[in-house]
């Protein structure tokens, strides 16, 4: 009997960003300093980046798991949203 073994590793990057309208004090302070140094800066945002390495048999399954972890656990939907991207497959 052939078993569907999770023999591949997929690496996802989850970028967590503050929702529009939620003040980003670290971004604001950095923006002011860069402006003071005469850089042509319009905006600075501090995001979080989390990498997940997931063992699964195919990309679809791994992606579903990564989505589930990001939306249910890693993000507080009141303040944040996320973007997910695959960065590596081994």
């Amino acid at each position: 009997m052939k078993k569907d073994t999770p023999n591949k590793e997929f690496v996802f990057e989850i970028k967590i960003k503050l929702r529009e309208g939620i003040l980003d004090p670290q971004g604001n302070v950095t923006y002011k300093i860069l402006k003071k140094l005469n850089y042509p800066i319009e905006q600075v945002n501090f995001d979080k980046s989390i990498r997940l390495t997931i063992q699964e048999s195919d990309f679809q399954k791994a992606n579903t798991i990564a989505e589930e972890i990001a939306s249910n656990i890693l993000v507080n939907p009141v303040l944040e949203y996320y973007q997910i991207s695959q960065i590596q497959e081994e």
């Binding site: 004090p25 604001n28 890693l74 507080n76 009141v78």
Partner: protein, 222 residues
Amino acid sequence: MKIIKTAVLVFPGTSGERDAHFALQRNNFSVDYLWHDFDQSLEYDLIFLPGGSSFGDYLRPGAFAKYSNVIKSIEKYVLQNRGLVVGIGNGFQILTEVGLLPGGLALNESNTFICKDVLVEAINLETPFSNSINPDNNTFRFSIASRYGRYVVNNNEIDENQIIFKFLHNPNGSSENIAGIVNKDMNVFGTMLHIERSCHPFLGYDEFNPIFESIRRYLTRE
């Protein structure tokens, strides 16, 4: 006098449990510590989530505490209206992460840890947590000590009567100057104000704590 049984929840990284214990005992509550792995909260009249940094505050303050056994039990406790729940500082952050209270706590506007006394005004005196406050004497001084203390909420997520306290001078950029809120059923209270530090003249505060007094009145009512 009826004994009010209180559980002070302790997570790895909680640091305010002894302050809470001291304050509750001084106000004649009977107090047990309840470790986060246990799920027997239902027998208590009052659940107190103290301040600190549960699970190191990794990811976000309060984010990981919601997966503890004790929190599953508290969700049941609130649903069945077994008693009252109070969350202070990190405890408040946990309650918003769990979804028992609306909104969330973000980094202070100043991007710094703020530790100081603030003045707040009680604006809803008809809750289990504020029923003993005199409308002619509704301004109080409490301490705050937090970096993620900026309360953020959308107007459509909270009703006006859910706001118990407002800052007189907003210290951290909280929405609408909100300093303390309850849920819709008014059995869960959350605030970044360290109400438990206000219980003894030695600590620089009055002996009288309006919130503990209100809770007692509510829980011992006939």
